[in-house]
Amino acid sequence: MVKVTLKNITKVFGKVVAVNNLNLEVRDGEFVALLGPSGCGKTTTLLMIAGIYRPTKGRIYFDDEDVTFLPPKDRNIGMVFQSYALYPHMTVYDNIAFPLKLKKVPKNEIDKKVREIAKLLRIDNLLNRKPAQLSGGQQQRVALGRALAKEPDVLLLDEPLSNLDAKLRVLMRAELKRLQKELKITTIYVTHDQVEAMSMADRIAVMNAGRLQQYAEPEKLYNKPANIFVAGFIGNPPMNFIDGTVYSKNGRFFFDSGEFTIELSKEIGEIVTSKASEVVMGFRPEHVKISLSEQPNSVEGLVYVVEPLGRDVVVNVKIGSIIVKILASPDLNLEPGQKIWLIFDQRRLHFFDKKSGLSLLV
């Protein structure tokens, strides 16, 4: 097991900067997710760690060894591709045995190892099949088996669950996490699905447009997003953003959106007003209470649409010309056109600088 360090990594394809000055450290045995929208450079980063792409600038270290120019075969990594990339002309057995054969492991040891891995992944009854005869979930497990067979120092996973159906995905999520904790392999997991990243990873590196946005534990990303991008990307339904200004008057602090004004608590107000006046206020749909009668420091709105999700409903509320999404209990039985009041949880409000998009509270 190794520690993976990326130092000032930049990758340029022609004129496109795919990855821009990325610094990342993955601890020994850690499970790190690279999270971001498609085209953000996360797969490129993974392929650079694998040695398939060579960074244009910067260095990659496994522990203290500089592996920047080492070919993939000398890095002792295991990788699962989004398409699984199983060898179609080989049986499941040969697919898993292939990396061991290349390592010149004795035949009886290969056999032992393949059967052991197959048993662990519950594919021991499929060893004689060809990949084309397997379902998506089975193929995924074979790909994982092939990656694990050679006991890699680093396990790289590129959206391994994206081709599975929703039910299997939830199942494999837990399975992968358990396996990683059991084998304690340093794992880097690329995904665009924030739920996957949040539920599995020890730490998440959020990327956008080739740049690292924030690198932190899942709950920190959720509670203390470093900028508007992270705030909007993490959480479902996404965070609501309202442009406005903050000001103080007679020692009290206010946020004014043009459509409504709310008073801010002293501690938040002091920090925010000291840093900027043009701000974006963010609040998560689950951090607002709906009241059917007017309350102090609440905002009046009209129910616009109600989207039932089963356990909760997403209420689209119209405040003047602004529409925000609020998560509420279905018991409220809200109807479109109904007048309601929103009460914000002051400790859960986020404020971002309008120009830079950076959080003013972190």
Binding site: I52, P71, K73, I77, G78, F81, A85, L86, Y87, P88
Partner: protein, 297 residues
């Protein structure tokens, strides 16, 4: 009641319509085949009978037309070499062409498909342009080259020279065909092989090559047949009868005398077709896959 009758009536009409449609399709499909099949039928009938009526109705079974299989061919005063050495020459030429074409185009096709280098696109266009020149317009230039290389009039070595020429003419198209097969293999699979511990060369050999086998099959068949049926190059450059190939031998059965032994000619023709028939009957599925494009996934 009346309603039921109407339904029945329209159903039988629909059936009739379907039958008529299929009949039309079958007719249209079969008519163009009639002359082709007549020719093939003529070949069979003529070669096994002493006399034929109306071209295709046999009269009198005989193996006399096949006498070239065990005796030297005689045309008037001239005696041609035995059929077997000539078949061997043809086979050597065809296999040589096919082997060279597969070797060069599989390596070249991979490079064109997978490797980034300067001038890749112009090179590909240049390669396809090469295919535009038929061997007949190159005859004189090729003669000079063969002569300079000391391959003209050197018996079997002349055949080797022709092998090189023929392979050179076949390689451009074969390279393009096989490049398409390499293109169809996702990068992921090659990358997986590299990550699993392969060098680029090993990944090519163990993982990529097995997946283009249908393509290799196709180009080897095409180039084999093209070498097998090569006429103009052998006819022009080979003067020693011992190094004739079958197409040239067949030509001489027609060319030199006014009297033509049709039975012998058809038997020879049928003999010449045998490898083609074997190839197409064993590789039909493979060829179909190529014509509809790429590897089945």
């Amino acid at each position: 009641m009346a309603r039921k009758k109407v339904v029945k009536y329209s159903r039988s009409r629909a059936l009739l319509w379907t039958v008529a449609k299929y009949l039309a399709v079958v007719l249209i499909a079969v008519i163009p085949l009639i002359p082709i099949w007549t020719m093939v039928l003529w070949l069979f009938m003529q070669s096994f009978s002493s006399k034929v009526i109306m071209g295709i109705v046999p009269a009198g079974l005989t193996l006399n037309n096949w006498r070239f299989l065990w005796a030297p061919l005689k045309m008037g005063l001239k005696e041609y070499p035995n059929i077997w050495p000539i078949t061997f020459n043809t086979l050597a030429l065809a296999l040589g062409v096919s082997g060279l074409v597969v070797f060069v185009s599989v390596l070249g096709g991979y490079a064109l498909s997978r490797m980034e280098f300067k001038g890749r696109t112009p090179l590909m266009e240049f390669i396809i342009a090469l295919h535009a020149f038929p061997s007949i317009i190159l005859l004189i230039a090729l003669f000079v080259i063969l002569n300079k290389l000391g391959l003209y009039g050197k018996g079997f070595m002349t055949l080797v020279g022709i092998m090189l020429i023929k392979a050179g003419l076949e390689i451009p198209m074969a390279t393009w065909i096989i490049k398409g097969f390499f293109d169809a293999i996702p990068w992921d699979i090659e990358w997986a092989a590299l990550v699993d511990g392969c060098s680029r060369w090993r990944a090519w050999r163990s993982v990529i090559l097995p997946q283009v086998l249908p393509g290799i099959g196709a180009i080897s068949i095409f180039s084999f047949l093209s070498g097998w049926s090569e006429f103009i190059l052998v006819f022009t450059y080979v003067k020693n009868e011992a190094y004739y190939t079958l197409p040239v031998l067949i030509y001489h059965m027609i060319g030199e005398y006014k009297f033509i032994d049709w039975g012998l000619l058809s038997a020879l023709g049928l003999f010449f077709t045998i490898p083609t028939l074997i190839f197409f009957s064993t590789s039909q599925k493979l060829l179909l896959r190529i014509y509809v494009g790429g590897i089945k996934r």
